[in-house]
Symmetry: C2
Subunit: 133 residues, 2 copies
């Protein structure tokens, strides 16, 4: 369980905290989770992770590789061909991400709705009530 009342390691609130350090970033969880399907080329990743820019994708891929989550295979061909695969560590992480994916699918309507709400009060002048304190 590891709740935040017992502190296992010097830097972490709990196991979740540790995990978050690894997958922090807008795209990393998506990249990792997409790779559970098997090795994928750069282009495939780019199309799968919608909205990601080249810069970001490359950057996060490099970080994931440096972190031992994925492996990069360069075929040394021309035109370039490269693919990315999860390491065993990466695979275990991807599996741990699955429930979040399911949660998102199950609650997609709710999420869509709350995202619209957010957009709404970002557009309106933030009329803040006088705080009770």
């Amino acid at each position: 369980m590891t709740n935040a009342t017992d502190l296992p390691a010097p830097g972490f609130s709990c196991g979740l905290d540790a995990t978050l350090r690894v997958i922090a970033g807008k795209w990393k969880p998506l990249i990792i989770y997409f790779l559970v399907q098997g090795p994928n080329r750069y282009g495939a990743l780019k199309r799968a992770v919608r909205g990601v820019s080249d810069k970001m994708l490359i950057q996060q891929l490099k970080e994931l590789e440096a972190d031992g989550i994925i492996t990069r295979h360069d075929y040394q061909e021309v035109p370039p061909r490269v693919d990315y695969t999860l390491t065993p560590l990466g695979r275990s992480l991807a599996i741990a991400l699955a429930p979040l994916c399911e949660w998102g699918s199950a609650n997609m309507a709710a999420v869509t709705h709350l995202l619209e709400e957010r957009a709404r009060w970002q557009a309106t002048p933030p009329a803040h009530a006088t705080a009770g304190g």
Copy 2:
């Protein structure tokens, strides 16, 4: 499963993408996961989520409340007493976070190590090899 090749909703790559919109932010997953224990006061949260500042904690708490993930209960007492509880939606999300927590606990040594590695090549001059292209 919902992999990114089939796109269920206009804005999302997959369910995971949806989830990430909700829990984006350095502290939200930690807050949510800590609250599975039951209602907690602001101060307790602050102590649990180590390193969080007042500003951030309050801010994320407000967002989570606006998103329907948590509920705020103000006892209207003085000195102030307030506690935060997960909504059913929040609780289901917290449950989906559990595997990540376990992953972090199980792989804490690896995570600690890779974090040290990161720190290392942040300190050193990034001697980049000449790109093959």
